[in-house]
């Protein structure tokens, strides 16, 4: 432990700071160690259960795809909703429906 400041009171303060620092370092080390343990266990599981791992990746990709699609859909729906509100405020007649697509 280093006591850089002069006088007994300053040395005491540095001592408290260094104790707090070492305690927080211990906490960080413990968190990192548990994260490393979880990561290594995940890798072990993925290497022994390859099909299950592939399924998990596929489902997670599907989840991300759905979330992104939800976001874009909501943005489009909000634009239409805002337009509808503006139209009602302006007291215009309802927008004509688009013509039905011809069947092949």
């Amino acid at each position: 432990m280093l006591i850089l400041a002069e006088g007994p009171s300053s040395g005491f303060e540095v001592d408290i700071v260094s104790k707090k620092l070492s305690a927080s370092l211990e906490v960080v080390t413990a968190i990192l160690a548990s994260a490393e343990r979880i990561w290594s266990r995940t890798l072990d599981w993925a290497s022994t259960n390859r099909i299950e791992f592939a399924l998990v990746v596929v489902f997670l990709m599907y989840y991300v795809f759905q979330r992104r699609k939800t976001k874009t859909d909501m943005a489009a729906m909000k634009t239409k909703y805002d337009l509808e509100r503006d139209r009602i405020r302006a007291q215009e007649p309802p927008l004509p429906l688009p013509p039905p697509e011809p069947r092949e």
Binding site: Y62, Y63, D73, Y81, R85
Partner: protein, 185 residues
């Protein structure tokens, strides 16, 4: 069930939940148009009060997102229950505001609130039931305590008045809604 399948089931459930969420949000769109029509009509109503117009302005603006107010409600409902026992005037005010409205205006306002509730359920299908569960758990005790203290059973304190109070508080917190109301006049 063997352990290796648990992550697969969890990931599959996430996918199903994401799909269901998207479908629900899309299914609420016709109701949003109804809300826009009835809400904007209400904002033009000459006999509607300023406070209810602000409330409707908030409902119109939050047709796509009520997550913040609902998260606030999850934390605030136990506090609201305590306020209801000790000092219920602020919560009672919402019902007093409604009672002063003309019957046709009140019906229109309640219809808008019902539409918004349904849209909120589609948008936040997990959070709204959680909030309602909290209301069911806390508010009956608050009503009973209040009745014991004051010697009179209060008329309000139900689901609608609590949700209306939370929405009203959010209206007070968000100044942008007043612009929506002002523009619509």
């Amino acid at each position: 069930m063997s352990l290796p399948f648990v992550p697969v089931i969890v990931a599959a459930l996430l996918g199903v939940i994401a799909l269901a969420d998207r479908r629900l949000k899309a299914a609420a769109q016709p109701l949003r148009f109804q809300l826009a029509e009835k809400g904007e009509e209400y904002l033009r109503h000459p006999h509607a009060s300023k406070e209810t117009k602000e409330h409707v302005g908030f409902l119109l603006d939050s047709a796509f997102g009520m997550r913040g107010p609902l998260l606030f409600a999850v934390v605030a409902i136990p506090v609201i229950a305590m306020i209801f026992v000790v000092h219920p005037r602020s919560i009672l005010r919402s019902s007093v505001r409604l009672n002063t409205l003309e019957p046709t205006v009140r019906t229109a306002f309640l219809e808008i609130c019902r539409l918004h509730d349904r849209i909120t359920l589609a948008n936040n299908w997990l959070l709204l039931p959680l909030v309602e569960l909290e209301i069911v758990l806390f508010m009956p005790f608050a009503i009973v305590l209040r009745s014991l203290i004051r010697g009179r059973v209060p008329e309000t304190g139900g689901r609608d008045s609590v949700l209306s109070y939370i929405e009203w508080r959010q209206t007070q917190l968000m100044p942008k809604h007043s612009h929506a109301v002002a523009n619509s006049r």
